[in-house]
Symmetry: C2
Subunit: 187 residues, 2 copies
């Protein structure tokens, strides 16, 4: 398959970004290609279009499938495996968030839980535990919140994002009007 220069540059860019989003360059390229492609593609199509090895494509597709971003399908009378991107772009964002939470937050949270069970054995640990507690609470809030997001439909996610920025403004107002003393109590 041949891409226009514009689309090629998008695919390449997405590859670079991919590495920041948790998958490697070629996996990013592969996903971008599948997203913009109108029809499902075979692994060979992908390898050819992106100039990467067949083996690499196979591994990349496996990863994209494990992220549930890509789906295998078959054409009648054709033995080859065809792949296409599944879900809306919001679904993909949710998947990425969830995956990142698993990798980036969950392990730390569980380590922190364990550490906070131990009584601090000296003043160094005493001070450290306060800090750890703060981190723990933060991560726990974020986890709860992302769980919540997972359950929402794309429509509702959109609504929520918009509501949130409004609420942010309201909370700001509250701060402006309520006296310092009262605010201190809430800390």
């Amino acid at each position: 398959m041949n891409l226009t220069p514009n689309l090629t540059s998008f695919v390449m860019h997405f590859g670079e970004m991919g590495s920041r989003w948790g998958f490697n360059r070629t996996v990013g390229q592969m996903y971008a290609l599948l997203v913009i492609s109108a029809e499902p593609l075979t692994a060979n199509d992908i390898a050819e279009t992106l100039n990467i090895s067949r083996g690499n494509v196979s591994m990349g597709l496996k990863e994209l499938q494990s992220w549930q971003l890509v789906q295998l399908s078959h054409l009648p009378g054709d033995r080859k495996d065809y792949f296409r991107a599944i879900g809306s772009i919001w679904d993909m964002a949710k998947r990425v968030m969830e995956e990142r939470r698993k990798r980036e937050i969950d392990p730390t949270l569980s380590l922190l839980r364990d550490m906070l069970l131990d009584k601090p054995s000296n003043s160094q640990e005493q001070h450290a535990q306060q800090r750890l507690q703060e981190i723990h609470d933060l991560l726990e809030s974020v986890t709860k919140w992302t769980n919540e997001l997972q359950r929402l439909s794309p429509d509702n996610l959109n609504t929520l994002l918009k509501l949130s920025s409004g609420v942010g403004k309201v909370l700001d107002m509250k701060d402006k009007f309520i006296g310092k003393e009262e605010r201190k109590e809430n800390r």
Copy 2:
């Protein structure tokens, strides 16, 4: 400086996680160490405690300063540079979010804006542009929303997180009660 085994394992763990959060292993370790330490530390303290080279510490501190997570301070009558973690843990979360948005979202958003200005030159581009538009809109929403978050105090951030999960439930209810037809119109 000598850490208890517990704290050592936390620092090491944070190092591993660091690489997933956008900075490398030793930078993560350095930050963890500074966060749990009651007093500011010198670059030498850090190098010794973590068993890493002095040069590496220097580079790492520079990076942490650029993220505005660590601050240089001086002790009276002492020429050495002391460093400490600044801000609450929420401030650090905000910084990480902002930094990641800059690296992970902004460049893609600006590429997409440019691409969407071009008229699609054939049916392949036609289809692709629809997809790109969706991605663009998503990224733009997320950007607006993170800008909003940046402005909130830790207190209000907390409140907002809690509110959001409530709102999520309400939106769910709406979906349950409103008939399918009506929902379709909103798509």
